[in-house]
């Protein structure tokens, strides 16, 4: 039984945490792709930027002596999201809108987003240096242990406080997004524009507004994902640059342009990564006695070594692209 709880802690909780972060990032990527038809590579750095906004705000709050039972990082999240959304709209105005106005191809926008990536990354390191920071320098990171009332169980189910907030907030964000996309006029307009931009424009949808709202949602969610990733691990300038590729993999696996696909893709990639590096021999150990004599349980029985964790996402991506090029949910194309 202890081994199953180990499995639960490692795979289910780890996968859910990772999947939530991937899903939040992938929603932004996929919305931008659906509306503007280009792969926004700067999304990872928008996540990092959002995390740094939250970090600065948390520092300010701590400086003002505001202490609550909720970790300060979560307290300042709404304000940071507003700032990040404004920054996202500003980046669009400054770098992408002029190119769109000229009628540039999506590929040009993609290259422009590389430029934006480098500028954000340079600025972050310019202001904050390269060292690793943590949100929990002044307050403790709560650890929650649930002892199970079974006989012979010594290992508790354990997770940290930020992880609980993370999963709950992801759920709230996903439900809110669902309501927005299906109930509100603007959300329906967004879906219409993702399906057919020309038809949306002639039927009187304010496409400029839709573009702006897309950036607001994408920027806000990116900030949320980045901050939560920083709360779960640590805050580094290249925090999200390393996970932008799994996020893209999640968005593509789910079908670019499909918000629900992105959520599914995010969790799929998250769980696949934790499952692939999990040492399966742990689960075989309870059956040690009932296995045949010749069968010796190897010390390590993971599908891939943990160094290759990141490659799992790409292998899934490549296989999906080959077998079903538009993703699990049928995605848009340029």
């Amino acid at each position: 039984m202890n081994d199953f709880i180990f499995f639960f802690n490692q795979v289910i909780i780890g996968g859910a945490v990772l999947g939530s972060i991937y899903a939040l990032g992938a929603i932004g990527v996929t919305l931008i792709f659906g509306i503007l038809r280009f792969a926004h590579f700067a999304h990872g750095d928008m996540m990092t930027m959002g995390a740094f906004f939250a970090f600065v705000l948390a520092g300010l709050f701590a400086g003002m002596g505001i202490v609550t039972p909720v970790p300060t990082g979560f307290l300042v999240l709404p304000i940071a999201m507003v700032i990040a959304a404004a920054a996202a709209v500003g980046i669009d105005k400054g770098f992408y809108a002029p190119l769109r106005a000229r009628g540039a191809r999506p590929v040009t926008l993609l290259i422009a987003s590389i430029g934006v990536t480098m500028m954000i990354q340079g600025l972050i390191r310019l202001f904050f240096g390269v060292e690793t920071r943590t949100f929990f320098a002044t307050e403790p990171k709560g650890l929650i242990r649930i002892e199970l009332p079974f006989e012979g169980v010594t290992r508790p189910i354990s997770f940290t406080e930020p992880q609980v907030y993370l999963i709950v907030l992801t759920l709230i964000a996903v439900v809110a997004l669902h309501v927005f996309l299906t109930r509100s006029r603007l959300g329906k307009g967004m879906r219409a524009m993702a399906d057919n931009p020309d038809l949306a424009q002639v039927s009187g949808i304010n496409t400029r507004l839709v573009v702006r709202v897309t950036w607001i949602i994408a920027g806000g969610l990116a900030c949320m994902a980045g901050t939560m990733l920083a709360l779960d691990v640590t805050l580094k300038p290249d925090l999200a640059f390393n996970i932008i590729l799994p996020i893209f993999a999640a968005a593509i696996v789910g079908g670019l342009g499909q918000a629900y696909g992105a959520i599914a893709g995010g969790f799929l990639i998250g769980f696949a990564e934790t499952l692939a590096v999990f040492n399966w021999s742990v689960l075989l150990r309870p059956f040690r006695d009932s296995l045949p004599e010749w069968f010796e349980i190897p010390g390590s029985l993971s599908l891939v070594q943990s160094e290759y964790k990141l490659t799992v996402a790409f292998i899934i991506l490549v296989v999906v692209l080959l077998v079903r090029p538009t993703g699990i949910f049928k995605g848009a194309s340029t």
């Binding site: 500028m119 390191r125 310019l126």
Partner: protein, 427 residues
């Protein structure tokens, strides 16, 4: 147009002379060697993107493959490995891999036995899984044995120039498979697929310690020309020896670049280049004219990757150390894209110019930023606000920002590059 070329390359020449006077000759010659290697890589990307319209974000992978190839060929032989049981176990691994490959190929052909649809897919998945297990069952013990007994495989001790050529060949082989897998995809998907494959290559090269020594790094890798120590043995002072040795290396690299440029330009001006541009601009029309679009795209992807592999090999043997963890997307993929976009995609001389110019900017922006920070810091100290902390670490990061700014400005105001593509028309 000719005027534009003269101004561009003349300005570049003046810039290089200026750098030489400011930073000293050894630094400038080193800078030029690396700049020419990057120009070669940018020319490779120009073949893929400028001629063929193929979006490759996996340049880093090709550079690593080239770097590994030259390390493997030119590094001295490791007698511990050849004396151990390693070669035999590697042979068995190879057989296991072959068995796995046969299994997979057979699984792909089961429809001949009447197994189709879902069942065929199941058989293929099982075959891949079984092949993977067979391979791992031989590979893991072999890797463990080599690491414990010999450290790593070592090199072959062959001439360095052969290693450069092998870098091109190995990159071509890898590019063939990458292209086979991903070239059917549309632009954005192709970008992500290539970046993903490059990351897989990076993870593999970094972690197969028995073959590449991984994060332990390999050094010193020999030079193809006499190195500074050889000149010092002949009685030159250290500074002189660096200048002579690097100048010799530079001459060799310039020769390689010139040869590549001549060959590419001839091909580009000929029927082959026109066909490639036709495929790039309208692959449906080109296909209907009887051109094998997919085959030609694969060809162009492989050609471009050869130059990238050679360029990666040149860079590694110049710095004499192969460190898989030193490869970063910004430095080894995005930088090259900036070179091509600023220089002018579709124009060979544009790629050459962009490669040299952007590399010089990239390297110089660090001391420039440092000087700028020093001045600002002095100013803020005078004003009583205190000095700027960690100037050195910050000015290193400044160049990433400068590069981003350069590409943003280039896309906005000169989207076709400083030396745009020339399209000859015979009306």
């Amino acid at each position: 147009m000719t005027q534009r070329y003269l101004v561009a390359f003349g300005g570049l020449f003046v810039l290089i002379i200026g750098v030489g006077m400011l930073m000293g000759a050894p630094f400038t010659v080193r800078l030029m060697v690396e700049a020419f290697a990057f120009a070669l890589i940018a020319m490779g990307l120009n073949i893929q993107w400028g001629f063929g319209g193929l979006f490759n974000f996996g340049i880093l992978g090709m550079l690593m493959v080239g770097g590994f190839a030259v390390t493997f060929i030119s590094y001295p032989i490791n007698p511990d490995f050849w004396g151990s049981g390693g070669p035999a176990m590697l042979g068995r691994t190879l057989i296991a891999a072959a068995i796995g490959a046969v299994l997979i190929v057979m699984a792909h052909r089961v429809q001949r036995l009447g197994i189709t649809g879902k069942w065929r897919a199941t058989v293929i998945v099982i075959a891949w899984f079984v092949a993977y297990i067979i391979f791992r069952s031989q590979m893991d013990p072999a890797a463990r044995l080599i690491i414990s007994e010999a450290g790593w495989v070592g090199g072959l001790g062959l001439p360095v120039v052969l290693g450069w050529a092998f870098g091109g060949v190995l990159a071509a082989i890898v590019a063939f498979f990458v292209g086979k897998v991903s070239l059917g995809l549309r632009t954005d998907y192709l970008a992500i697929a290539t970046i993903g494959i490059a990351e897989i290559l990076r993870a593999v090269i970094k972690n197969v310690e028995w073959l590449t020594r991984g994060t332990l790094t390999v050094s010193p890798i020999p030079w193809p020309v006499p190195d500074p120590l050889a000149f010092q043995a002949m009685g030159a002072t250290p500074v002189e020896s660096f200048i002579y040795a690097r100048a010799g290396y530079l001459a060799l690299v310039v020769a390689v670049v010139a040869l590549a440029l001549w060959l590419i330009h001839r091909a580009y001006m000929g029927p082959w280049g026109r066909m490639m541009r036709a495929i790039r601009d309208n692959h449906i029309a080109a296909g209907s004219m009887g051109k094998d679009v997919k085959g030609r795209q694969l060809e162009i992807f492989v050609f471009g990757s050869v130059l990238m592999g050679i360029g990666g090999a040149i860079l590694v043997s110049f710095v004499q150390i192969f460190d898989p963890s030193s490869y970063q997307p910004i430095h080894h993929t995005f930088l090259i894209w900036v070179m091509l976009i600023v220089g002018g995609s579709g124009n060979n001389f544009g790629a050459l110019f962009g490669g040299l110019f952007i590399y010089i900017i990239w390297i110089l922006s660090e001391p420039l930023a440092q000087a700028l920070f020093m001045v600002t810091s002095g100013f803020s100290e005078d004003m009583g606000w205190g000095a700027i902390p960690d100037i050195e670490a910050r000015s290193v990061q400044m160049r990433v920002f400068v590069l981003g700014l350069v590409i943003s400005i280039a896309l906005r105001f000169a989207p076709r590059g400083l030396l745009p593509e020339v399209i000859k028309r015979h009306d």
